[in-house]
């Protein structure tokens, strides 16, 4: 059971568009914190800028809504100063992988004891649908009107290579698996990374013939295949670009977290 209430109801209504994946992420997180018996007074959320970064505002816990891309740096300080707190970072693909890319790889490297949830919808939602570092090749966005010609990042591969202790990726349709990974992530010592592939009918769907939520979700299904323990070293970076994204738990290890190397 969750100790305390999950939603900060006097902040409602949420700002998210109909069909946004963040609603599902919040519901899965609520269930995960309940399964992990988290005390809401002893958890703190940190987020940057973007749609998903607004999500902690609707959760009844201490939360720090920070500057664009820096959530992990703020969270690092918060966790080190207050080691008894469970610190959860909520981020998006633009926030975490573009402006915050440096903080992301270094947080993985330090293996600092945080859970980071990245709502990857392949696009900048809040600023109006611009290209992100995970936008698949060919996708039309506000800043790639002729189709994206940049190679995308695979964030889970990056987290594994960077040194995170726990890395998993699911779509919002894989609710049970997603919830389970959040539970394992929040319990795991060290850096845990849970990537959630999520629809954005308003900004990505509208420009790519999938404005209906179901079409957007079906597109996510068509991009992905489920394979636990997928070995990133065996794949080409073009795999993601070619529209084949593995989902699953990719790594679970017990490297010493930051600050516990000499213990």
């Amino acid at each position: 059971m969750i100790k305390g209430q999950f939603y900060r109801r006097d902040m409602f209504p949420m700002i998210f568009c109909p069909g946004c994946g963040i609603f599902t992420v919040l519901e899965c997180l609520k269930e995960a914190l309940s399964q992990a018996s988290i005390d809401m007074e002893k958890v703190a959320f940190v987020s940057g800028i973007g749609c998903s970064s607004r999500a902690p505002g609707y959760i009844m816990a201490d939360s720090l809504h920070t500057t664009h891309g820096r959530a992990l740096a703020f969270a690092t300080g918060l966790k080190l100063a207050s080691p008894d707190l469970k610190v959860i970072v909520m981020s998006g693909d633009g926030d975490l992988a573009a402006i915050g890319g440096n903080h992301f790889i270094h947080s993985c490297r330090r293996n600092i004891d945080l859970l980071t949830i990245c709502v990857n919808n392949f696009v900048y939602g809040m600023t109006g649908g611009q290209l992100s570092p995970t936008t698949p090749v060919g996708c039309v966005t506000a800043t790639s009107p002729y189709g994206n010609e940049e190679h995308p990042f695979d964030l889970s591969a990056l987290a594994c290579a960077g040194g995170a202790n726990f890395v998993a990726r699911w779509t919002v349709r894989q609710r049970k698996e997603l919830t389970d990974s959040m539970v394992r992530g929040v319990k795991k010592k060290g850096f845990s990374f849970v990537e959630v592939l999520s629809p954005c009918p308003t900004q990505l769907g509208r420009r790519n013939d999938m404005v209906e939520v179901k079409k957007n979700l079906d597109w996510l299904d068509s991009l992905t295949f489920s394979k636990d323990g997928f070995e990133f070293k065996d794949r080409e970076i073009e795999l993601l670009a070619s529209g084949r994204i593995p989902t699953g738990v990719f790594c679970e290890r017990d490297k010493a977290p930051y600050g516990e190397m000499s213990k």
């Binding site: 006097d10 939360s63 500057t67 703020f74 690092t76 300080g77 918060l78 707190l85 270094h106």
Partner: protein, 363 residues
Amino acid sequence: MGVKKLLMGDVACAEGALAAGCNFYAGYPITPATEIMVHMAKRMPESDGVFIQMEDEIASISACIGAVWGGARAMTATSGPGFSLIQEGIGYAIMTETPLVIVDVQRGGPSTGLPTQASQGDVMQARWGSHGDYGIIALAPNSAQEMYDLTIEAFRLSQVYRIPTIVLGDAIVGHTWEVVEMKKAAKTKVALPAEKPLSTAYETPFYVPKFPAFGKGYMVHISGLAHSEKGYPDTESADDYTRLIRRLVNKIRNEREQICSYELINPNAETMIVTYGSPSRTVYETVKEMHDVGMLRLKTVWPLHERAIHEFCREAERVLVLEMNLGQIYWEIKRVLCEKNVELFSKVGGELPTPEEIRGTLQ
């Protein structure tokens, strides 16, 4: 009375922070501030504090702010190029009223500039470097002793006013070795709110609300967005925004008399030299050898102590502003003493003005 030790200014600054109860340091190496970080790397674990070397200066100030919300007293130190990077974090700390100390050991700019040479080129950046309207506090030490004392004072002020406070040193005071008396400091307690969970994260009408640290059951939402007293994002109401910004500015503007300190020699002498930081060291010689020359040294550069400037310079026949840039505080003094002819003595390139140079200008 404290122990006396021969210390480098940068090290004195780190020791001052420790005396003030600093228990979190995040930084990134940069000349001429690195000695602060190197000293903290050694000393923090000895005093049960946290030291972390971050991936850049933006991460450093961000980690410090996060640590403060986790209940720590935090400091970071940098120089020009890093000071440019941390402006983002300063704005966030202003908006969220996060108390912390930022040390800028100034070097010559713009850009990578003169890494090993002193300057006072960041004094306006310290005031206005982050976007938007805000008030800020900046102190300018002129000795290793003051690197110690004013760092302690910076912690006190940051906590009293819930504001990032800047120590504006430079390569000269940072690298000067002097005997420093390491006085004990009173550790100001941050006032915590009584109500849990907190219904208003920013109580009004108080200028400075109490600090609802995380993990204590306050359940607050803290945001860099414009926010209501509850702390919730509030980007629609011009009235709420105006009230917030006026409070953030006025909590410093209206407290200038309490915040500011200065050193005064021969007030209203025939010639008054207004200066701050390292160049004042030369003026000590000038006032010794020249008759009817006085000095007003601003220990607090921001907020500007307009009353003191006016009061102690208005009778002077000449007012000379001395700074190691091409004229920054000069324009502020000119603004305050609008009816007077205010002269500028500039020297850049890293060396202090010499007594001969100042005498030459005055004669």
